[in-house]
């Protein structure tokens, strides 16, 4: 699955996604479901950790952990589900500097809004990926609202 990070296509994804039932690999960066992370975080101290959340999770329980996390992956179950946009904003507002990755139903026409909300990485399904997708980030070059990179709305710039 093509992965974009900071608008670049990367071929290596260091993150190992581990499901609830799966055994933990001995090393490498771990991407865990939120509940499992909360359960096992003490044993895992010192490792590179990321959590996988979806719209039903409580974002505040993730925000409480941000100094221990390097990645928050937000699952978008359907492209019409806009909760992830608010999640990304809240994570950045709380000062999270790690990667915020969109996974699931992620495709071209939402990338620009996602980036403005604070996402910087995107797992894009193969059938929805084309190299031109990168152009989506620059389709609208002006905006009124503050965004992840500059919190000032237009009237304060």
């Amino acid at each position: 699955m093509p992965l974009l990070i900071n608008r670049q296509l990367v071929d290596q994804d260091p993150w190992l996604r581990v499901e609830d039932e799966q055994a933990l690999p001995a090393d490498g960066a771990l991407l865990l479901p939120l509940a499992r992370y909360l359960d096992q975080k003490d044993q895992l101290a010192g490792r590179q950790l990321g959590v996988l959340i979806n719209g039903d999770d409580d974002i505040n329980s993730v925000i409480a952990e941000i100094d221990k996390l390097q990645l928050v992956a937000i699952e978008i179950p359907a492209f019409t589900d806009g909760r992830g946009f608010s999640f990304a904003r809240l994570l950045r507002r709380a000062g999270f500097n790690g990667q915020v990755r969109a996974i699931g139903d992620v495709s071209r026409d939402r990338l620009e809004f996602m980036e403005r909300c604070g996402f910087d990485a995107y797992d894009i399904p193969d059938d929805r990926f084309k190299p031109e997708i990168i152009e989506a980030f620059d389709e609208i070059s002006v905006d009124y609202q503050g965004a992840a990179d500059d919190p000032r709305p237009l009237f304060r710039r």
Partner: protein, 552 residues
């Protein structure tokens, strides 16, 4: 009125290019139907029963003559020569082709217009009082705040995929001509004890399947806090609104489920985080936007005119004057309502020629500006009394001066089955039936103000719940039947109508209305008591009896 900056212009231009590419990718098969659907809706394009329907935004109902001429041109060039004004003060075209929409949007961008967020699950066009800035009763002109909301909500990256559509209305004072209490958010300009201007905020009003009157979430939000407060509400809604059932996804359901106190607590908690953020409005910004809405240069000499002589000499003119014009805050001026409810034509429809004509009249008599109203009429807001007679003659010659504003035939009517793919029943034929029935009756003017609203299905685009008389089309085994409600209002005394009884067949709607009106005339305690007041005083029973009692 507001004039675009370079940024505003660039945004709509780039949006046109973006949508052009989305249309191209869709036609090339690169964009799945379902995804293109969401994208085209956010550009106002529906696929209707007969053809696509394009809804163009008229922010808070205000247009320049140049813009209205462009709308006429679009009707002529891309449609069948007419457009339809909606209760959200937008205009709809019923016959454009999907392929031509990018070109239409490019034409709109030439005159600082667009179709952004006129549909879809996002923040829609903010509406306000069509008499904003010219009625003596308001605290302040609400339109600068509408423009501030327009900018904040336009292509807001966080709130483009809400659980459901989201509508905001703003009023400038105690009168409510914007149906603000049946909006997701209603904002009322108010003054606090310290004399500062701010907003009373209502949340969770709405019509549709579950009609609700909005509840107060804050008695006073200072004007500088407007956007932070709205953002807090929208964020709580975006995170917690239901997404599993589209009929339960509006904010009214969330507020109802949590209770307004709990909902308020969540909003206040979020607001505390952002209240003093960069989003807080500055004096400079409020003043900059207000600078676009400075009052006209009124002519003090306008009070000297021959209006009284004209009114005395011409009875038709006087009838029109009394019905279709409204007090202006400046002496010597009048607000004129251009009726889009002519005899036997769909409510809110207007031809390209009529649009050009109204644009010319606006240039000549009303500062070159036109407003669209929630009741689907147009307004020329700044007409000198001395010009009224000449203006009326031109309007009358062009079927735009039916003296029916606020009367029975000034109905709000959704397009119904003839155009809308969601409809259960036709509405336009029923509106015609009512017009035919009452065109000649002499007691019509006796009835005074009455609001009749009609919808073709429970989605309630015709706002039937808040009509003094509401008419809802229902489908009974393939036949159109109509359910009536009495006692609704969308004004400051907002209330939801109550169901009169079982539905009536299509050919009985006008007769039923007649029975209701005769009952009212019989029961009212004086000629001053309106239909709505009588219904509220005596209740539904006498009306039920008049309609359902077996004939003797």
């Amino acid at each position: 009125m507001y004039q675009y900056t370079e940024v505003d212009q660039k945004l709509v231009d780039e949006r046109v290019a973006q949508y052009r590419d989305q249309t191209r990718r869709f036609l090339a098969g690169e964009l799945p139907d379902e995804e293109f659907r969401a994208l085209r809706l956010m550009n106002g394009l529906y696929i209707q029963r007969l053809a696509p329907m394009l809804r163009v935004a008229i922010p808070y109902g205000l247009m320049s003559s140049r813009q209205l001429r462009k709308l006429a041109h679009i009707a002529r060039t891309y449609d069948k020569g007419y457009g339809h004004f909606t209760t959200r003060t937008n205009i709809q075209y019923n016959w454009p082709t999907l392929e031509s929409v990018p070109d239409i949007l490019a034409e709109l961008a030439e005159v600082q217009m667009h179709a952004i967020q006129t549909s879809g699950n996002c923040i829609r066009n903010t509406t306000t009082d069509p008499y904003a800035g010219v009625n003596a009763n308001e605290l302040e002109d609400p339109r600068p705040y509408c423009e501030i909301i327009r900018q904040w909500s336009t292509l807001n990256p966080e709130f483009a995929y809400l659980p459901r559509k989201f509508k905001i209305a703003v009023t400038g004072g105690p009168d409510d001509r914007a149906a603000s209490q049946v909006h997701d958010i209603g904002l009322h300009l108010v003054k606090n004890d310290a004399g500062e201007i701010g907003f009373e905020v209502l949340v969770g009003g709405g019509l549709g399947r579950t009609p609700v009157i909005g509840k107060q979430i804050s008695p006073f939000v200072a004007k500088h806090d407007l956007l932070t407060y709205l953002e807090a509400i929208l964020r709580v809604y975006n995170l917690h609104g239901r997404r599993d059932n589209k009929y339960k996804a509006r904010i009214k359901i969330l507020v109802g489920a949590l209770g307004v106190d709990k909902f308020r607590e969540m909003v206040e908690q979020e607001w505390a985080q952002i209240r003093d953020s960069e989003l807080k409005l500055t004096d400079a910004e409020i003043e900059r936007i207000k600078g676009h809405f400075t009052p006209f240069d009124y002519d003090a000499g306008a009070v000297d005119n021959d209006l009284d002589a004209k009114l005395a000499a011409d009875e038709d003119f006087r009838t029109w004057y009394e019905r279709n014009t409204v007090n202006h805050k400046v002496a010597g001026y009048r607000i004129v309502v251009v009726s889009l409810k002519p005899y036997l034509k769909p409510a809110g429809d207007i031809s390209d020629g009529q649009m050009d004509l109204v644009a010319d009249l606006a240039d000549r008599y009303s500062g070159g500006e036109i407003r669209a109203t929630h009741d689907q009429n147009l307004v020329l807001a700044d007409v000198k009394q001395g010009d009224l007679y000449a203006l009326w003659q031109v309007l009358a010659d062009n079927n735009l001066a039916r003296p029916n504003i606020g009367t029975l035939t000034d109905m709000i009517v959704c397009p119904g089955f003839d155009y809308c793919s969601l409809a259960n029943a036709r509405t336009l034929n029923i509106a015609d039936q009512i017009n035919e029935k009452f065109e000649q009756v002499d007691y019509l003017h006796d009835i005074g103000n009455i609001r009749v609203n009609m919808s073709g299905c429970i989605n309630a685009c015709g706002h039937h719940h808040v009509g003094h008389i509401g008419i809802l089309g229902v489908d009974k085994k393939g036949e159109d039947w109509y359910q009536l409600t009495l006692g609704g209002s969308s004004e400051a005394d907002a209330s939801l109508g109550k169901v009169l009884g079982k539905a009536v067949p299509a050919d009985e709607v006008a007769n039923t209305l007649e029975k209701l009106l005769l009952t009212y005339i019989e029961l009212r305690d004086s000629e001053q008591e309106s239909f709505l007041e009588t219904v509220r005083r005596v209740g539904l029973d006498p009306f039920k009896e008049s309609v359902y009692a077996p004939a003797h």
